[in-house]
Symmetry: C2
DNA sequence: CGACCGATTGACACAGCTCAAATGAAGTGG
DNA sequence: CCACTTCATTTGAGCTGTGTCAATCGGTCG
């Protein structure tokens, strides 16, 4: 798990959310980090806790999940390197869900106090993180739609498409191919289906020649066909970068009256 | 539809998100508002648009929705008076979903420019709105769980519980009884089920003596039983008010080391 | 009165679930 | 290097919750 400077993928993502100054980058670099290693399937933050730090994913994957009737699991989000998985703990407590590792993972903890100080010093960063929060909202809206109105094969294909693009953004996927240490049961719990049916759907995607899936390695072989089955459109991921600003006014240029 | 001062319910909600000063309240009161009336089932903001203003609900209800394969509708959120339904347009464009009225509704449009200026002038307000965004995230996580892992009757009961509490917070529900101009098809599209099945579920809830539902009027007759069926817990709604602050430090008091 | 819309009902079909067992792959310890 | 365990994947066989289709009923409004 090559990591480079620990905050490099975070910066990479933030640069696409807002224009950052050298000063902003400096502030990020100065954040006090506590790096921690976790093995597969460990709970990093538990439902009900009120942590005083945020969790930045450096390597590997985290996922957020809730339980229904104390048993059935629903995965509500995946987090990839460069993501802050529990930014909301900055403003909400206690945690309404748990955060676990998919496979082995490396994370960095950032104390709330230092993080808030950083936000106070840079309105640009504060804006970038708020925008990041809005993008997470958009992703969850798409997940609600996915679970509410698509059949099993579309759900699975949709989740795979989303992960491919999110990983591509941080250079962890090339040619629509990426490694992720999940099981078919994990995928099932993200898609709201049973593990048995997840298996059948994966086999169907393989049979159609659309997706390869060999232990931990996923490859989308026919992007157009898969996005069609998944009813996938990338607009909600806001990959386009920061909204244009009018350099004279320093404000967003609105495209409408 | 009595409205009082247009921003009164918004203030009411914000007060629970952060401690506001007289100056903050003044800033809210000074926001330039354009009030508009809509009739039932009108699109207030359309998917793909890039509005330059936010939409505050004054009276009635809005809902956000997406379409799958261009036809099947999924409702992703309900908005009640005091809610800003499209705060994210402040930072994201174009819109990834549409915003429509459930019944007749009164809204106020607030120009982005004025809104941003207000946020620049008050870190407390900026924090309150960011926190509001995090609460919306929590609500969507719960919806994902609802659609992914609960059966039809639990989904319906869950949505009803959530609305009751959210409306109670702005004095639009008393004794777990509220009016909302939705149809069973609207409820079905929020729960990811068919309208026919929504009807059967509603009848079942009536038969069990748990919920009354006479054209537009919903009453929860047995809160404990309904929350049990719905697997409902209100923690995700963050009704508890703003996190306590240490008055000396002016920082959040963290409950954990 | 006719048109329309939402609620309701019935009959039937099927996607996806559950249960259970088999197979395969990857350690682990002797 | 082989038994043994463990965990993920795969397969099969029924079962059921929910969808679809179509018709009816009831209220409301012009």
């Amino acid at each position: 798990m090559e990591i480079g400077r620990p905050y490099s993928r975070l910066l990479q993502r933030l640069e696409k959310l807002n224009t950052l100054s050298a000063h902003d980058r400096q502030l990020i670099a100065e954040l006090p980090l506590t790096v921690a290693n976790f093995s597969a399937n460990e709970e990093v933050v538990r439902h009900g806790e009120s942590p005083s730090r945020c969790t930045l994913v450096l390597g590997g994957f985290l996922y957020g999940h809730k339980r229904v009737n104390g048993s059935r699991r629903q995965i509500t989000s995946f987090f990839v390197p460069g993501d802050i998985a529990d930014l909301h703990t900055l403003h909400l407590a206690p945690l309404d869900h748990s955060l676990s590792t998919l496979g082995p993972a490396v994370v960095a903890f950032m104390p709330h106090a230092a993080f808030r100080e950083m936000l106070d010093r840079s309105p640009q960063l504060a804006e970038a993180f708020w925008r990041d929060t809005f993008i997470r909202l958009a992703i969850l809206r798409e997940w609600v739609t996915n679970l509410g109105r698509r059949d099993a094969i579309a759900r699975v294909a949709h989740v795979i498409c989303e992960l491919a693009l999110r990983l591509q953004r941080v250079d962890l996927a090339q040619d629509l191919c990426f490694s992720i240490p999940w099981t078919q049961t994990d995928l099932a719990d993200a898609c709201g289906i049973s593990n048995v049916h997840a298996n059948r759907v994966v086999q169907e995607l393989r049979r159609l020649g659309l997706v390869e899936w060999d232990s931990r390695k996923v490859r989308i072989r026919d992007w157009d066909a898969v996005t069609k089955i998944a009813d996938f459109s990338d607009e909600y991921l806001q990959l386009g970068g920061p909204a244009k600003r009018d350099p004279l006014l320093g404000q967003k240029v609105s495209e409408h009256a």
